[in-house]
């Protein structure tokens, strides 16, 4: 069962993507959808099953063992279920979203393969295996973000996403190398004996993959991809893999000096900055991307504060409401044929807006009755005792309310004209997710949270509401994170490369100079060899005389 869950989506997805041009697109997409459902079922079965383990050797060099390893447990089980669920919903959604697209089958295959690589990372029982899944996810995101191949921004975004995450991957690779060369081939071993180096490398890797710190801009640009892909990337794979990894490796992070404070700084700063950025954005998907980064920052913050359980709660809650928001906003932009907030006004029907969208908005801003509220409260709970952390939390609540309100404000309104009908495939996932967001208010997988009373939560609710008011009033767009850092890095790289090319051409000149010198000498020889007999006799005679004198004298 474990083998099926890990490899079936990956292999089927890759195979589907490869043969997509030879198959009827719809057939393929339906196959992928059915497979996704099967994977969801199987992952449930795995979560219920007793402990399962899988292990074989990938590479064995003298003195080094590099095994592949998988183990099912509670946390992986839940995470896998979450991933599989969001995947199924995204597959459903694409059935409607791409209904008239000839590359639907290809898209859904890649989506499934992408999920498969996330599952690989989720179930992996050692760092190396996680790295493999992590890399596959990078490729998957590259293919998904770059789906619209004729669009320049998709091309740019896909390359940038791959490149920025690649920087993190190098650090991940170094962590893997370190652990393998020290014979630590399971997560437990790394957690017990891992060096600070591994912890730091993981932090960098996660920061790149989860768009933390200076790496935000790739995720913002990645909005060039299709909506279902964005939903999957933001909710339960790729970027969510970062916090998941931090949760799995929490022991080694907490052993290593300086890592947790660093996480607080990275997570907190990113969360606030991205929240502010969300308020200023003009596009729905960009706003959502900012909000994702902000929420991911909060997860990192929670880990940094020493409470991976809280991060996990937030991860699950975020998965539900962010996927929901993407799906619903996707419907709106589908109708408006645009992603600009100013064009989205009154593009949702009554039910869609009031039930589906509002639930998501409540969740993202952290208001009851949603899982988001609980997760945020848990964050408040663990921050108590430190003024700085409390201020951070309050800022986040305020900003969260602001951008949620801004989104709500843009979408609100009743349309005069009848709205274009939307496929049931596109609505059904949203309905399911809104139920889950509510359900999440009373049920949390894996962790038990501290009891939170609604009454004691008044400061945060107040802040959210005031933030909401501010968000409604604020109208001026502004930009945070223009991606300038990336451009500058590229310029530096380009300069280095120019330098190497210059050295190269100088070397070429050197070779040419050698050749010229040889040619000159050749000319000399040719000159000596074409003349009169008199000269030949003279030269020969002189040489002979020298020869004799040299030998007789000594």
């Amino acid at each position: 069962m474990l083998v099926f869950v890990i490899f079936a989506p990956l292999l089927a997805g890759i195979a589907g993507a490869l043969i997509s041009s030879r198959l009827k697109s719809r057939t393929l997409s339906v196959t992928m959808t059915v497979l996704s459902v099967a994977v969801l079922g199987a992952s449930m079965a795995v979560a219920l099953a007793p402990y399962l383990e899988l292990r074989w050797m990938f590479l064995h060099l003298p003195g080094y063992r590099v095994p592949f390893g998988f183990a099912a447990g509670t946390l992986p089980g839940w995470m896998a279920m979450l991933t599989a669920l969001v995947n199924v919903l995204a597959q459903f959604y694409s059935l409607g979203y791409f209904a008239r697209d000839s590359r639907q089958g290809y898209f859904q295959s890649v989506l499934l393969a992408f999920t498969g690589s996330m599952l690989l990372t989720v179930f992996a029982s050692n760092l190396f295996t996680q790295f493999v899944g992590w890399e596959f996810m990078g490729i998957g995101s590259y293919l998904l973000v770059g789906y619209f191949r004729t669009q320049d921004n998709a091309r740019y975004a896909a390359s940038k996403a791959m490149l920025v995450t690649r920087i993190g991957d190098v650090f991940f690779l170094l962590a893997v190398i370190w652990s393998v060369s020290h014979g630590q081939t399971t997560i437990t071993e790394i957690n017990h004996h891992g060096a600070p180096f591994v912890a730091w490398a993981l932090v960098v890797a996660v920061a790149a993959k989860s768009a933390q710190g200076p790496n935000i801009s790739w995720l913002l640009d990645a909005m060039a991809g299709p909506t279902p892909a964005s939903a999957l990337i933001h909710a339960a794979t790729m970027v969510a893999a970062g916090p998941y990894l931090l949760i799995r490796y929490f022991p080694v992070l907490s052993h290593s000096p300086g890592v947790l404070p660093a996480l607080i700084i990275i997570g907190g700063a990113t969360a606030v900055a991205a929240g502010v950025g969300a308020v200023g954005s003009q596009e729905a998907k960009r706003l959502l991307a900012f909000s994702t980064v902000s929420q991911l920052g909060m997860m990192v913050l929670a880990v940094g504060l020493g409470f991976p359980q809280v991060a996990w709660t937030l991860l699950v809650a975020h998965a539900f409401y962010k996927a929901l928001l993407f799906f619903v906003t996707g419907v709106a932009s589908h109708r408006a044929q645009s992603g600009l907030l100013s064009r989205l006004k009154a593009t949702l029907g009554g039910f869609e807006f009031s039930v589906l969208f509002m639930v998501g908005a409540l969740g993202v801003s952290g208001l009851p009755p949603t899982g988001g509220f609980l997760a945020k409260e848990a964050l408040f709970h663990i921050s108590q005792g430190s003024l700085f952390h409390m201020i951070l939390d309050y800022t986040l609540s305020f900003v969260g309310g602001a951008y949620a309100a801004r989104l709500v404000k843009s979408l609100a309104g009743k349309s005069r004209a009848p709205l274009a009908p939307i496929s049931a495939w596109m609505l059904m996932p949203a309905v399911l997710l809104s139920l889950l967001v509510i359900l999440n208010f009373i049920w949390h997988p894996w962790v038990t949270l501290p009891a939170i009373s609604l009454l004691s939560a008044w400061p945060s609710i107040l802040l959210v509401v005031s933030g909401g008011v501010a968000g409604i009033l604020w109208n001026k767009p502004f930009r945070v994170f223009s991606g300038g850092l990336f451009t500058v890095s590229w310029k530096i790289l380009y300069g280095l490369e120019r330098m190497m090319m210059t050295i190269d051409s100088a070397l070429s000149e050197g070779v040419w100079a050698t050749r010229l010198a040889a040619g000159w000498m050749t000319g000399l020889v040719h000159l000596g060899g074409s003349g009169r007999a008199r000269r030949y006799v003279l030269i020969s005679g002189a040489a002979l005389a020298l020869f004799i004198i040299w030998n007789i004298r000594l």
Partner: protein
């Protein structure tokens, strides 16, 4: 004794044939038959009475040199062109007789005699086959330089004879200025015959001016003879009294290689390129001699002979009387004289030391012989070897380029046969190592 008589008789026969009108082909067949007979006779009946030991070399190793010279002569028989008169056959026979005498001389005077006979034959050949002004120029240059060095020889023999009291070739160990000067003069004369630096200047002009047949003879026979004589003299220790013999030989070898290689590079005409290439090759014969490695020099000499016969005969087959540029050779593989083109490729590859040719083994022998010397010697040698690739490969290339080539005239049977056989031998001896190993073992005895 029989062999020597036969040698003289063969010369007389060839000369007599001039008096009665006989076809060129017939005279060449007679010449070839005679050479074959001589080759059989020299090993079995080449021993001279005891009396002659003062003038003729008696050690069994002489047979190797004699056979080498005769075999080269046999090869050259095929080279003489179809329309050549019987005169060229006679001249070749004279050259050959001189060569055989020279390599088996045990007296400086006999050596002189042999070399001069050889020279006369060569002058005759060049002059006889010359059809143009450049040919005459070639002859004049060759003749003048040759005469000058003949004079050196005479002087050298006089000095040696005077200081030794005898004209016998001896391994003298008394350093006497007159003796040293005489030996130096003789060595220089021999090096001149081999066309090595710094006495190489005549070679390119002479090669280029003479027609292919004469060029082939000049490029092979005198070098074989002089090379054999030098090898023999070094082996018997005749030159040991020269104080800087080692250094001299090293300088000469390296200089020859470098000058030849540089000169051959970027030569537009095939013949001049080959002239310089031949100069460069000679350096590798002299190189092992500097460290007294007789076997290596012998192997290289044999390989050089084979290679140059193959190169010149196949070039003649391809070019007729012309001196082609590289462009003229483009597409030669697609013409009727494909065989000659393949032979030329193989021969050039052999000269370059391409694996599985005898040239490679010979180069390895030659360089390996000096590996214990200072680094500059062997490094210089290997670097020159690398440099030679430039011109050899540069000349191999046109054969594979696309194009159509016009063969001036269908090559003669003899030329074609010789080029094929020698090219085949280059490969066979490159793979079948026994003959060369036998040679190295027996030369050093």
């Amino acid at each position: 004794m029989m062999a020597w008589l036969a040698l003289g008789l063969e010369c007389v026969v060839m000369m007599t044939l001039e008096l009665i009108p006989v076809k060129g082909a017939m005279s060449r067949w007679i010449l070839a038959g005679g050479i074959v007979l001589l080759m059989i006779l020299f090993p079995v009946a080449g021993v001279l009475p005891h009396l002659y030991e003062r003038v003729m070399y008696a050690a069994p190793v002489r047979v190797i040199y004699q056979e080498l010279v005769l075999a080269t002569g046999l090869g050259l028989t095929g080279i003489l062109s179809k329309d050549g008169s019987p005169v060229s056959s006679t001249l070749l026979m004279l050259t050959l007789a001189g060569g055989v005498v020279a390599v088996s001389a045990n007296s400086w005077l006999v050596l002189f005699l042999g070399i001069e006979t050889l020279n006369i034959g060569l002058y005759g050949l060049v002059g006889h086959t010359s059809r143009q002004r450049t040919g005459d120029e070639a002859l004049v240059k060759f003749f003048i330089l040759g005469s000058v060095f003949t004079a050196f020889e005479v002087a050298g023999i006089a000095l040696i004879g005077g200081s030794q009291g005898t004209l016998q070739i001896l391994a003298s160990r008394v350093p006497n200025p007159a003796l040293i000067a005489g030996l130096c003069l003789m060595l220089a004369a021999l090096l001149f015959k081999m066309g090595s630096f710094p006495f190489h200047l005549w070679a390119p002009d002479t090669y280029e001016g003479s027609p292919w047949q004469a060029t082939t003879v000049i490029a092979t026979l005198p070098k074989i003879v002089a090379g054999s004589v030098i090898i023999r003299l070094v082996a018997t220790g005749t030159f040991v009294v020269i104080p800087h013999l080692k250094e001299v030989l090293e300088i000469v070898a390296l200089g020859t290689m470098v000058i030849g290689a540089l000169g051959a590079w970027r030569q537009p005409r095939l013949k001049r390129m080959l002239a310089y290439a031949a100069i460069s090759q000679v350096g590798f014969v002299i190189l092992p001699l500097s460290s007294g490695h007789i076997g290596a020099a012998g192997v290289y000499l044999v390989s050089y002979t084979l290679g140059s016969i193959a190169v010149f005969s196949s070039a003649q087959a391809l070019a007729g009387q012309d001196n082609p540029t590289r462009l003229d050779l483009v597409g030669a593989l697609a013409t009727k004289s494909r065989g000659a083109a393949v032979a030329l490729i193989l021969a050039l590859a052999g000269f370059a030391g391409f694996p599985l040719t005898v040239g490679m083994a010979a180069k390895l022998y030659s360089v390996e012989a000096v590996m214990r010397e200072p680094a500059i010697i062997w490094l210089g040698a290997v670097l020159v070897t690398g440099f030679t690739f430039f011109y050899y490969f540069r000349w191999i290339f046109p054969f594979f380029a696309a194009g159509d080539m016009k063969i001036p005239k269908a090559p003669g049977f003899g030329v074609l046969a010789i080029s094929q056989i020698s090219a085949l031998l280059i490969v066979v001896l490159g793979i079948w190592s026994y003959p060369m190993i036998w040679l190295t073992q027996n030369l050093t005895l």
